[in-house]
């Protein structure tokens, strides 16, 4: 075959169309505006059960941590000399808790929780961090509406932030 320098290249055969069902099965991304949150809901009460049976062994009976990180505390500590970063004190969006727990927890059996369980344990974690009341029923709408204490405290990287000079002599005196 003759080689045409200007001919459009034909990689048409590469890749199969991704069907809606295929995408739905794999796309578990949840965004701060609630995009991606599934149908369903959960309660703090059910979440406490989920936590005790599936999370406590690693995250502690009082969410104090263990094999896994601490899941409460630290609010108001971020500007101190000993900041404590937890989902409650540091994370900007509650939707991230849902997203993260659904895709990767429990640690040893990820993606095994039902949507109801994820809503529930998320509600439980938020309530233990005093971010939602203990009688909360959480669904897509109410989860997206949660405002985390640290939401407004992030700003886009503004480095470079050092101005070292390429000093060659007598540098320690400067």
């Amino acid at each position: 075959s003759v080689i045409h320098a200007q001919q459009a290249h034909d990689f048409k055969g590469l890749g199969s169309p991704a069907g809606h069902e295929q995408i739905a099965g794999w796309n578990i991304d949840v965004f701060p505006d609630g995009t991606g949150l599934p149908d369903g809901q959960g309660t703090v009460a059910l979440g406490e059960k989920v936590y005790k049976t599936q999370c406590m062994s690693c995250h502690g009976v009082n969410l104090e941590g263990g094999l896994g990180p601490k899941l409460v505390g630290g609010q108001g500590s971020l500007a101190s000399d000993k900041p404590v970063k937890t989902i409650g004190s540091y994370w900007p969006y509650a939707t991230t808790i849902f997203d993260y727990v659904r895709r990767s927890m429990p640690f040893q059996s990820p993606q095994s929780l039902s949507n109801e369980d994820v809503y529930s344990v998320t509600a439980y974690l938020l309530s233990k961090n005093n971010i939602v009341p203990a009688d909360t029923t959480l669904d897509a709408k109410s989860l997206a509406a949660v405002k985390m204490p640290n939401r407004d405290n992030f700003y886009v990287d503004d480095r470079p932030d050092t101005k070292n000079e390429r000093c060659m002599a007598d540098c320690l005196k400067k």
């Binding site: 890749g15 199969s16 169309p17 991304d29 094999l67 990767s104 470079p160 932030d161 050092t162």
Partner: protein, 395 residues
């Protein structure tokens, strides 16, 4: 004659292989040709990966490349650093897929054979974890412990831009959320401009297919950006108009400043250098001229200079760089200095093509406070004692 004394016997055994004697390996046949896959000499015991100091849990963990044992700029695949969140999955490439969906005209699912059929490139790039090292003591003993979460290889893969054009990028596209297929299913959001620039979907590492530890069968590769964004065991690319604000770009990989606010989207691994020889746990065994060797790199492009101080940072002189210098890859540097048995502190300082000069730790802390944790590209001092023993100059 061999004595009954084991020390003398060992010495005699050793001398048996020294001139004028002809060693035993010169008087016999060796191992057969054509081992299907070679391995290092059994005598090389120090060149291994180690768990980062202090870590015990092996599924969410990191291991260091033994930089003080290595030469040049290519990291051999078996010693490439690791950072995992759910261990290393063993993925069957025939059953692995890459899904590309969201703000594209044609959402697609690719097999690994299909990915290989797109036009590819083979650049050399470094990969570095953003937490390399932490700002706080204890400070590492070896170059590996100090900054061993960096490695460099020749990567082969298809530009992400090519795949996006193939799927037809919608004009509203602003980000891509990339996801891995391990048990963490980790996601990061990459700006679309970067995706259309030099981001790759990679399948080979130093010539052979990716190692499981580096993401077999495919990974994302985001040149110059923090290693966490180069999603391993890549299985999904979700083109969106907003970032995901996933756990790895909120709870982690954000930099807490002195005032309690935090930087987000701190992507670039800034200009950095490290002397690897001599470095912690090495020992100079003679007075005279020695060659200082190390590596330098910048996520902003090429290294343009590396300066060396052998007097604790008071005077500096330019080192020689190994050519060719490659953008966003490790660059090797060399510098001769005379050691006369005195205690002294040596260090290197890199400059990149933007003119940025590698800072001191004090300068970083001045700018950021003490708890920002990530992006520590500080100048690293090594102390040579009068015995010749080398230790971390930062205590």
């Amino acid at each position: 004659a061999l004595a009954a004394d084991p020390t003398k016997e060992a010495a005699a055994d050793a001398a048996a292989n020294l001139p004028p004697n002809v060693p035993k390996w010169t008087r016999s046949l060796g191992s057969p040709t054509a081992s299907p896959y070679g391995k290092p000499s059994a005598f090389e015991k120090k060149a291994i990966r180690n768990m980062y100091p202090g870590l015990k849990e092996p599924m969410s963990a990191y291991s260091t490349s033994p930089l003080q044992e290595l030469d040049g700029t290519i990291t051999p695949n078996g010693l490439f650093y690791e950072r995992h969140h759910a261990g290393v999955p063993q993925i069957d490439p025939a059953e692995h897929r890459l899904m590309l969906h969201g703000l594209v005209e044609r959402p697609l699912v690719f097999t690994m054979d299909e990915i290989r059929q797109f036009p590819c490139v083979s650049p050399i790039y470094f990969l570095e974890c953003s937490g390399n090292p932490s700002f706080l003591p204890p400070y590492g003993k070896t170059a590996a412990e100090v900054a061993g979460l960096v490695s460099c290889a020749q990567w082969t893969g298809v530009p992400l831009k090519t795949l996006l054009e193939h799927a037809g990028l919608k004009k509203e596209a602003k980000w891509i959320v990339a996801e891995g297929a391990d048990g963490a299913a980790m996601t990061r959001s990459i700006p679309i401009e970067k995706c259309l620039d030099d981001v790759l979907v990679v399948y080979s590492q130093n010539g052979e297919r990716l190692r499981p530890e580096q993401g077999y069968p495919i990974r994302l590769f985001v040149p110059g950006f923090e290693g966490n964004m180069s999603i391993k065991w890549l299985r999904r690319l979700h083109v969106t108009d907003q970032p995901g604000y996933t756990r790895e770009e909120t709870g982690k990989y954000t930099d807490l400043m002195a005032d309690g606010r935090a930087r987000k989207f701190s992507f670039v691994m800034e200009c950095k250098s490290l002397i690897t020889q001599p470095s912690g746990t090495h020992k100079l065994t003679r007075k005279g001229t020695h060659e200082i060797r190390g590596i330098a790199w910048s996520g902003h492009g090429k290294i343009t200079a590396v300066d060396i101080s052998t007097d604790g940072g008071n005077t500096w002189k330019a080192a020689t760089l190994q050519e060719p210098v490659i953008s966003k890859a490790l660059t090797a540097f060399r510098f001769l200095f005379d050691w006369n048995g005195e205690e002294q502190v040596i260090m290197s300082r890199a400059v990149d093509e933007t003119g940025y000069v590698q800072p001191t730790l004090d300068q970083l802390i001045e700018a950021r406070g003490k708890v920002s944790f990530y992006h520590n590209n500080a100048i690293q001092p090594w102390k040579i004692a009068t015995t010749g023993e080398v230790t971390n100059g930062r205590v």
